[in-house]
């Protein structure tokens, strides 16, 4: 873990309005299309208003965990971690180069604050089930929030996780599905009912509305895992 960097870079002071500039350091573009920013608002609200985690607590067993399962297109995630002080802004321009710790898919062993190494789809939610079980087994009050894309739900491993989390009443587990209707066989309004059938509490929100996202992501301990479908512009 590169704790050295944590102490040398400037204190976190950036806000939501800085994210486009931070993303531009990676993309070189002034403006970003909807695909590049599909996760931006959800990830920001999680780190700004919901999760109990900070650069000071990334080794704390009782911290909240965020698993970015949909590892591709991580610019918004990296920008948010910079804005919240997990690693220095100076890392962004060289991203995806040989010397950079920032890849096109994030690696938890290279980037402070990144909880899982992802890229191959369908791994984050199943691992999140294991981590949520471990938090419960250890009597920790913290939670796991997993972000998946709507097309990522094509992977059958998610169906396995969905069923078990409902059966085991894993209320420490929350899934956010960022839904930009990108799956090839898209049928509207099926994601939330699929989770609900397996015993999850399900909510559908506007994936650009910070207050709606925040309200839906508040943790409730009622014996049910939570899914929040965050709808954004179609890809």
């Amino acid at each position: 873990m590169t704790t050295e960097h944590l102490t040398t870079h400037r204190a976190a002071s950036s806000g939501y309005e800085d994210l486009p500039r931070l993303m531009s350091l990676m993309t070189g573009d002034e403006k970003h299309d909807a695909a590049a920013t599909s996760t931006l608002d959800v990830v920001w609200v999680l780190y700004d208003r919901v999760l109990d985690v900070s650069p000071a607590s990334i080794e704390d067993p009782g911290r909240d965990r965020f698993f970015l399962s949909k590892g591709h297109g991580p610019m918004a995630y990296y920008a948010t971690l910079v804005a919240k002080g997990f690693f220095p802004e100076e890392w962004l321009p060289g991203w995806a180069s040989y010397a950079s710790p920032l890849g096109q898919h994030p690696d938890r062993n290279l980037v402070p604050g990144v909880e899982i190494s992802s890229g191959s789809l369908g791994h984050g939610l199943p691992m999140g089930v294991g981590t949520a079980l471990a938090l419960r087994a250890q009597g920790l009050g913290s939670r796991v929030v997993v972000l998946v894309g709507d097309a990522e739900l094509d992977e059958g491993s998610n169906a396995e996780a969905m069923a078990l989390a409902g059966a085991l009443r894993l209320d420490r587990l929350t899934v956010v599905v960022v839904d930009n209707a990108s799956t090839s066989y898209h049928r509207p309004h099926v994601i939330a009912p699929r989770f609900a059938l397996e015993g999850w509490r399900a909510a559908v929100v506007d994936g650009r509305n910070h207050d709606e996202i925040e309200t839906a992501l508040q943790q409730r301990r009622d014996g049910r895992p939570t899914v929040v479908v965050a709808e954004v512009e179609d890809r």
Binding site: I116, S117, G122, M127, L133, A137, S157, E160, A163, L164
Partner: protein
């Protein structure tokens, strides 16, 4: 003699009873011995159902939160079906875990190819850093599981029904010298030892025994080598450890015979003994294979 699979289950249950940081994740298989522990520790002993991708990833998720997972089902589903989950959940995340597979290459002989996993060690060999246990006795199963859970690395324990008459201490990375001779060296891995000893009776060979095969004890092989002739006898795909013999003897001109389960699908049912015989791994087959090899010599290429 204890049953190896049941010994694994009893050992695993003892470990979860004693240590709050140990989790046991399984997928229906062996549930008959794990249900009671599951009732005592519902948060740490978890049956995921018939969901092997989830099985491996849940184990990794436990490890990500600092616990020590034991992950169990048939080897064919644990390593082969869920291989990417093992690769990414454990190696790529860089967390530890103990995978315990049952069935190996021939235990479910009457069940056919679907439940046989002769490629498990070769597959795990594509990933760095796994300690691979191939116990040839129920006592070795217990030792291996205890050692593996006590550590914090990535460990695979390959539990099978076939057993040798005697057990040996489990010392990962160390082979045992069972017999010394002036001729070739035979490396017997796990449950094939008794057949190897019977097949080589009356011949002047050295016999090494490996109940852990990764790390491969190349130093032991070098230290006992007299004649530059090596026979590997492995209870999974033939040739799985050949490259490690080549590495150990990189500066020694030598001949190598690699015996094990053949690559061609047998498409037979029947007993484990019949399958071992079909692959030449019973005493008569080994005597023939090793005898032919030792009777031949080096030929000039071309």
């Amino acid at each position: 003699m204890r049953d190896p699979r049941r010994t694994f289950a009893q050992t695993a249950v003892e470990l979860v009873d004693q240590d709050l940081s140990v989790a046991l994740v399984y997928a229906e298989i062996s549930g008959q011995w794990l249900h009671e522990a599951e009732r005592r520790h519902p948060d740490r002993v978890v049956n995921v159902g018939i969901r092997e991708q989830l099985l491996a990833s849940v184990g990794a998720g436990f490890a990500l939160a600092g616990m020590r997972p034991i992950v169990h089902t048939f080897s064919s589903f644990l390593v082969e079906r869920a291989f990417e989950q093992v690769k990414l959940g454990f190696n790529h995340q860089d967390v530890g875990g103990v995978l315990v597979g049952y069935g190996g290459s021939v235990d479910v002989s009457a069940g056919g190819r679907t439940h046989q996993s002769p490629g498990d060690v070769a597959l795990l060999d594509t990933l760095p850093g796994w300690t691979i246990h191939v116990p040839g006795h129920a006592d070795e199963v217990e030792q291996s599981v205890r050692l593996a859970v006590r550590g914090d690395g990535r460990e695979y324990v390959r539990v099978v029904g076939q057993q040798n008459r005697e057990s040996f201490p489990v010392r990962p990375g160390r082979f045992h010298v069972v017999r010394r001779g002036a001729g070739a060296t035979v490396v017997a891995v796990g449950p094939v030892l008794d057949a190897v000893l019977e097949a080589t009776q009356g011949t002047d060979v050295t016999v090494l025994y490996a109940n852990t095969v990764r790390p491969f004890d190349g130093a032991a092989l070098r230290s006992v080598l007299v004649a530059p002739e090596v026979v590997l006898v492995e209870p999974y795909l033939a040739g799985t450890s050949s490259r490690l013999v080549a590495d150990a003897l990189v500066d020694v001109p030598h001949r190598l015979l690699a015996l094990g389960i053949g690559h061609v699908e047998l498409r037979r049912y029947g007993s484990p003994e019949q399958h071992l015989a079909a692959h030449g791994l019973h005493a008569a087959g080994l005597r023939r294979g090793i005898g032919d090899f030792l009777a031949g010599g080096l030929r000039n290429a071309g």
